[in-house]
Amino acid sequence: MNSLIRRKLVENGYRLKVPHKGFCTGAAARVSSSNGAPPSNDHVGQQKSSDRGEPYDVAIVGGGMVGMAFACSLARMPMTKHLKVAIIDSNPALSSGLSIKKEDPPDARVSTVTPATISLFKDIGAWKYVEQHRHAYFDQMQVWDYTGLGYTRYDARDVHKEYLGCVVENKVLQSSLLSCMQDTDFQKTIYPSILSSMALNPSILSMGVKSTSSGLNERGNLAKLDLSDGNSLYAKLVVGADGSKSRVRELAGFKTTGWKYSQNAIICTVEHTAENRSAWQRFLPTGPIALLPIGDNFSNIVWTMNPQEATDRKLMVEDDFVKNVNYALDYGFGPHPKSSNFGSGGIFSWFKTDTTISANECFKVPLKVVKLASERMVFPLSLMHANNYASKHVVLIGDAAHTVHPLAGQGVNLGFGDAFALSRIISEGIAVGTDIAEVNLLKRYEAERKTANVTMMAILDGFQRAYSVDFGPLNVLRAAAFHGAQYIPPLKRSIISYASGDQRLPIFS
């Protein structure tokens, strides 16, 4: 390892004292200057810091959607745009700019972005980059189950909006955020590596230590990150955005609570003969199947089921799978719910004056799937919540802090909420001269996001449990819930607002 670094550095004409593993500047400089983007800002640079290896202000571990959203948000806010940031992610595409061509087939990994997240993106000027690629707004949604006892239709016009959400491929979100960042003067360096170990200085001050002016004391208040390719870097704040199996969370010793669902999800892209403009979700005995539009006659399927069936369905022939999907969405497992006509809402007819538009809509059958357009991927599902999001020098955002069931498309939206909340709090801290690694500041972020995240997680977990039991009285209760949501306008508006991220609590706001 050492000789590798030495060779690289000698090539660049540096001479470093090597026993101290050099701060990775040579390798990083070459990687980040190799992309075609505006050159001067990315690399730490031959000109300034290479010899001494200036520490970073923030090191973001994980360059996925949430990590990028955080970095982009820092880049675009006036108080934080001067920060020096390192992004550690081993995805080679990240360093080369993540270019996406229009003709690329749609990726199976997509996310539903809620209106709240869209407005956060618009605040930092990143949404216009997303709109340059494939994306699909949807303004209607239908939810029903296999018992055929009830259904709910949601329409964006119920809450006087134009759309309920937008479905975007994950790689599009990632590359849009990267492009948005590259259009600024933000100093960021991308390290194409994996975090292997981390040293956080545990004590604030040890009284007996004499104040020396050696570099060691100056590094005393920093976190040291060791990467798998042998480089090391120092940073004031380490942000763990590295997903549900977060290495940062593990190294920082945060405990988690949660459980695995005995369900796996199959994800794939399918094609129709016409454009799909609505989102559909049907709860089946073994789990929900969701059909989401992603643009250009394509849709995305997220089908949750028990692990055995998941393996079977992944391996079956394409045509059989397509038939399975249509069966599951249409007449399989149970009858269609009866559509109600205007005025036959029964006891709910006294809401007639205040009905929502979607209360009068009939039950519709989803668009027929014609062919499979991508490979089928299977993921295990679990609920996880880190007991703490922050401690000195470390903070977690996104899936590293919490994972949820995909049944309401909220997972990454919680992550984006975390990223933007953290960058706002860091900005407020810098405005009053706070040290960004200070625990009190990070705990403010934790207090703000924990409530929102835990509430959402509890609700989603509740849904998951309620819909996984086939028991007569419970089925009737669920049907009543469907009817209630369909015909009681305040409840429906509440649900739409909460799922859109516009309000903090589902019922009481």
């Binding site: 006036p78 108080m79 004391n217 100056e218 810098i430 405005a431 009053v432 001269g433």
Partner: protein, 314 residues
Amino acid sequence: MAMTWKLLKQLRPLPTATASSILHRPRFLNLHNATRLFSDAPPPLPPPSVEPPSIPPPQNPHSPSPSSLNQTELAKFAAIAGTWWDSEGPFKPLHALNPTRLAFIRSTLCRHFRRDPLSARPFEGLKFIDVGCGGGILSEPLARMGASVTGVDAVEKNIKIARLHADLDPVTSSIEYHCTTAEKLVEEQRSFDAVFALEVIEHVANPAEFCKSLSALTVPDGATLISTINRSMRAYATAIIAAEYILHWLPKGTHQWSSFLTPEELILILERASISVQEMAGFAYNPLTGRWSLSDDISVNFIAYATKTETSTS
């Protein structure tokens, strides 16, 4: 601003000789003998009180100006000096209050020095002094906002701790800490663009002289920021009974109610020192969120932003 004008209008114009009789209100607690006199006569020196051995004698023996130090007060702070940077320790309320008072400081000083409020380092090139800096809780954020900060405190232990902590971060390691007093700096003829004396004046033996020293340290058209606790019944209930005896936020005896100043008194002694108060704000604590916020209510904690006016007799 309007509030300050209201306060100033309430003050009747007084000849200086009778000022002390009007402002010398009866006090409920007279636990220490140093009385508050606002006349220009030299005040009596504070009586010798029990001094714990850890405090080095700070006075310069041949200094002509009376020192504003109060030995009992210094002893209190020296005893808990090690816990300055423990955000869960005895200084927890101060750590919680710090961002709020910095918000006021940032807003008023960006306007005063005409700096960009959206800049991350608006105080570049300005010289600030933090009088009674303690462990450096205020000095460090000011340095991060770009100012060249000097921190002074009369307790040597505090200065040691402040230096150690500031050296951890290259940005704050440029802060100069000295164990000295405001009066000595005046003798050295130092001057600064902004002078900060936050939560200090209630621990000082002679506030009037202290304000004169602060004024001498400020350049003409410079800014002075002073924060303290109001001498009101509400403050007695909140800052002393609740904070010290019920919630145990502060060690008992940290504050003496009789040493508190009312805003009117503070404005008056500052006026006498050629400093005119421009804005005042209060701090309100929300027990549900545990956070402080700025408010118009100056009945308990308050902070004053003042500017040095040109003295007619220099």
